[in-house]
Amino acid sequence: MIELKNITKKFGGVTAINNLNFKVNLGETFGLIGPNGAGKTTAFNIITGNYNPTSGKIIFKNEDITNEKPSKIVRLGIARTFQNIRLFKSMSVFENVLIGFDNHIDYTFFEAIFRFPRFFREEKKFKDEALKILEVLKLDKYKDYTATSLSYGNQRKVEIARALATSPDLLLLDEPAAGMNHSESEELAQILEVIKKEFDLTIILIEHDMKFVQKVCDRVIVLDYGKTIFEGTPADMLKDEKVIKAYLGDFNV
């Protein structure tokens, strides 16, 4: 599905990521683990094209996508959420999700100005689609609320809904359970199961909550100061000497 080959990223003199390699298979949920500053979000930004890697290659669906622009990468089928929630603050939940459909809604600028029949047809079609996504995520009752007025947990779900609207094959979640209480993260874990099946997704996620990781991830990779120190199943990770040594106290097991 996606493969990172020898990815290195330097900012000035600082090496954020050093020779990162991993491969995620179709349908997998893959965890990117490590303390703050380990280079996880940088890895996401490299995949989504916000940063160009200093060296290395990214292969997605057998295609080299290194150095592509973010908007191109979304069209190829990779969507993301943000660590520090970034919803469009003037818009409702519904409109936020509709933005995700931007590339799929098919009418021209002139058809919009002159309100051609296709405009109404397409708008209706994708508004129904948006509603479906909201229903799956149990957000439909907040449809017309200003997105940023929702609770933290619900805002994270709106970000997921917005990402799903781009109809991705690969979903990147940056700390999806952060700021959620226990029952909320339980619910999120279930929702991830559901959307994975419903939308045929492969997921890569960054997370600090190890219970959550154990529940949802098939495989994880652990980074420490840009270097990979472990790759395997979540259960093995928790037993790994190196990981325990490096992160004792950082895990909230």
Binding site: T41, N45, N50, Y51, F82
Partner: protein, 295 residues
């Protein structure tokens, strides 16, 4: 003729450089195009005009101009920009107040002094003709260039060698870290406005001596050109602003010297540079890159 024109270009470039520095420093610390900056130059020129007419002392006039311009700069920051920065208002709000302040100053001075250009008086010795390398030039153009050169060296020394200067350069890259280091950021920003306004008032006086008249709208076009010079040099960089200013000064003088037909379009050169820089090297000559992604 070449020497003559070179001297003219140096004094015109000096003026642009002095004003461009204010734009570039404010942009560096606040990421804001301070539209009022050109008008602060006008305020300086008018202050010198009034003081010299009343007191007859030119050095007093220069000091008063620097003082009044600096106060105007500080007030602009404190009243118009700071409240919005504190509220974390969107950048467009700041730009709108900046334009508002600019328009306010122009119209206030228009109301107080009238819109008709006023002859600017200055001591006669500025007009004394100097023979240099076979060219004849008024003393003023030499003074303008020499003063600007010294001022530039002082500002660069201040920014690179003193504690406050280094801190100002640090905010340009990471304001939060500077805050965490326990440095009073507000004080540094005020310092930036004082330096910028003081230099702009000098530029205003030099402009007034060269032309020699002043009017409430004099800062608009010169300010715009100086901003273009700052972008050309690489916005955020003080030496870049100076270099950009001199390049613009030379271009304007020599385009007119070699192509007299183009004289009417002299004022469009800065704009032409601005577009070219944006197209081919957005970070300007000194190439400071503020485009770090904010993820």
């Amino acid at each position: 003729m070449i020497i003559q024109q070179t001297l003219n270009a140096l004094s015109l470039g000096s003026m642009y450089a002095l004003i461009a520095i204010g734009y570039t420093m404010v942009y560096g610390v606040l990421r804001l195009i301070n539209f009022a900056h050109g008008d602060i130059m006008m305020v300086g020129a008018f202050s010198a005009f009034v003081t010299y007419s009343v007191s007859g002392s030119f050095s007093l006039a220069v000091l008063v101009a620097i003082f009044v311009a600096s106060i105007t700069g500080i007030l602009t920051y404190k009243i118009a920009y700071k409240p919005l920065l504190d509220k974390d208002a969107p950048k467009i709000s700041l730009l709108i107040t900046a334009i508002g302040v600019s328009f306010f100053l122009e119209n206030l001075f228009n109301m107080l002094f009238g819109g008709i250009p006023k002859a600017f008086n200055y001591p006669k010795f500025f007009d004394k003709l100097i023979h240099i390398f076979g060219a004849v030039t008024p003393l003023s153009s030499i003074i303008i260039f020499v003063v600007t050169f010294i001022v530039l060296l002082v500002v660069l020394w201040f920014l690179n060698k003193t504690k406050y200067g280094i801190a100002i350069k640090a905010i340009a890259f990471d304001m939060n870290t500077v805050k965490l280091m326990g440095i009073n950021v507000d004080f540094l920003i005020i310092l930036v406005f004082i330096i910028g306004s003081a230099l702009a008032s000098l530029g205003g006086i030099f402009y007034a001596i060269s032309y020699p008249s002043i009017d409430p709208l004099m800062g608009v076009l010169v300010g715009l050109k100086a901003f273009a010079a700052a972008v050309l040099g690489g916005i955020g960089s003080v030496s870049g602003a100076a270099i950009g200013g001199f390049i613009l000064g030379f271009s304007e003088i020599f385009v007119v010297a070699f192509f007299p037909d183009m004289a009417g379009y002299k004022d469009a050169i800065a704009f032409f540079f601005l577009i070219l820089v944006l197209l081919f090297k957005p970070t300007g000559i000194m190439g400071i890159d503020f485009e770090r992604s904010r993820f």
